[in-house]
C-alpha cells in the first residue's frame, strides 16, 4: 500500500516536473524542474529494489543539473526569465508526434503479452551487478570505460580555445608551435 502511494506520488511529480521544464520562462527553474523529474526517476529505481543504481542516479543528476544550470546562465540569452520569450519551433507538429508516440507505446505496453516473472531477486542485487560487470558483461564494462575515456579527450579537444591548426598552422612537419607565450625548458 505504501509502495503504491510512493509510486504514484513520484510518477505524477516526475511527469509534471518534466512538462514544466518546457513551460518555465526561467532557465534556472527549468533546470530545477528537470532535476525534480530525474530525482523522481531515481526514487522509482529505488522503489524497484535497485538501491545502488537509485543512489547513483540521484547523486549524478544532482551534480549534472548543477553543471547544467551554470551552462544555462552562460549561454541562454534570458536565464532569469525576466523577459518572457518563446524559443520553440513547430510546437503543434511536435505535440502531435509526441502524443502519437505515447499512444503507440501505451498500446504496445497494454496489449503485449508480457512474460511472467522468472526467478527471484537475490538479497544483494548490487553484488549481482558487480559480478555480472566483472564476468559475463565484462565487454560492456570495457566498452563503457573506453567510451568515457574518449568522452574526456573529445570534450577537452572541443572545448579548448587553440586547436592543432591554431598552434602549428597548415605545415604538418612544423616542429614548434606558434604560441603567444613560449613554454618548456629554456624559455
Amino acid at each position: 500500500m505504501l509502495d503504491d502511494v510512493i509510486f504514484w506520488a513520484l510518477a505524477l511529480l516526475a511527469v509534471a516536473a518534466g512538462v514544466m521544464v518546457f513551460r518555465f520562462d526561467s532557465m534556472a527553474r527549468a533546470t530545477y524542474a528537470l532535476l525534480t523529474s530525474l530525482l523522481c526517476v531515481g526514487g522509482e529505481v529505488l522503489l524497484l529494489g535497485l538501491d545502488y543504481l537509485g543512489v547513483v542516479i540521484v547523486l549524478m543528476m544532482t551534480i549534472e543539473m548543477a553543471i547544467m544550470a551554470v551552462f544555462m546562465v552562460m549561454y541562454m540569452m534570458n536565464p532569469a526569465g525576466l523577459m518572457p520569450m518563446t524559443m520553440v519551433h513547430n510546437k503543434k507538429g511536435a505535440a502531435v508526434i509526441c502524443a502519437a508516440v505515447f499512444a503507440v507505446l501505451a498500446a504496445g505496453i497494454l496489449l503485449a503479452p508480457w512474460p511472467s516473472r522468472r526467478g527471484r531477486a537475490s538479497a544483494d542485487p548490487t553484488r549481482d551487478l558487480g559480478r555480472s560487470l566483472m564476468g559475463p558483461q565484462m565487454l560492456t564494462m570495457m566498452t563503457l570505460g573506453v567510451a568515457l575515456f574518449a568522452t574526456i579527450v573529445v570534450t577537452v579537444v572541443l572545448a579548448t580555445r587553440r586547436g592543432r591548426y591554431d598552434r602549428f598552422g597548415d605545415d604538418l612537419k612544423a616542429r614548434t608551435a606558434d604560441d603567444p607565450v613560449r613554454g618548456g625548458v629554456g624559455r
Binding site: 520553440v88 509526441c98 555480472s132
Partner: protein, 101 residues
C-alpha cells in the same frame, strides 16, 4: 505496482522529452529533452528487470548503460555548444544549421 504502470510512466517521460527535443531551439534545452527521454529508458529497464527477470543482472547493466549515456551526452553536448559558440557565437539549433553550408 504492475510492470505496465512503470512502463506507462517510462513512455510518458519519453514522450515529454521527445516534445522538448523536437521543439526547443536552444541546444541546452534540447539536451534537457534528451535527458528526460533517457530517464524514461532508465525507468523502463529497471521495471523490466524487477518484474520479468530479477534473477539475472542484465537489466541492471542496461540501467548502467543508460546512466553512462546520459553523462556522455551531457559532457559532449556542452563541449559542442562551447565550440559552436566560440566559432560562430551561436547557441540555437536553427542558426547552427547554417554551419553545413
Amino acid at each position: 505496482m504492475s510492470l505496465e504502470l512503470f512502463l506507462l510512466l517510462a513512455a510518458a517521460l519519453f514522450s515529454v522529452g521527445l516534445f522538448g527535443a523536437l521543439t526547443q531551439q536552444s541546444i541546452v534545452m534540447l539536451m534537457m529533452g534528451l535527458e528526460l527521454m533517457l530517464g524514461g529508458v532508465i525507468v523502463g529497464a529497471a521495471a523490466v528487470w524487477h518484474h520479468i527477470a530479477p534473477a539475472a543482472a542484465d537489466g541492471q547493466v542496461l540501467v548502467v548503460l543508460a546512466v553512462t549515456v546520459m553523462a556522455v551526452e551531457m559532457a559532449v553536448g556542452f563541449a559542442v555548444v562551447t565550440a559552436l559558440f566560440r566559432a560562430r557565437e551561436v547557441d540555437m539549433t536553427d542558426m547552427a544549421a547554417e554551419l553545413k553550408e
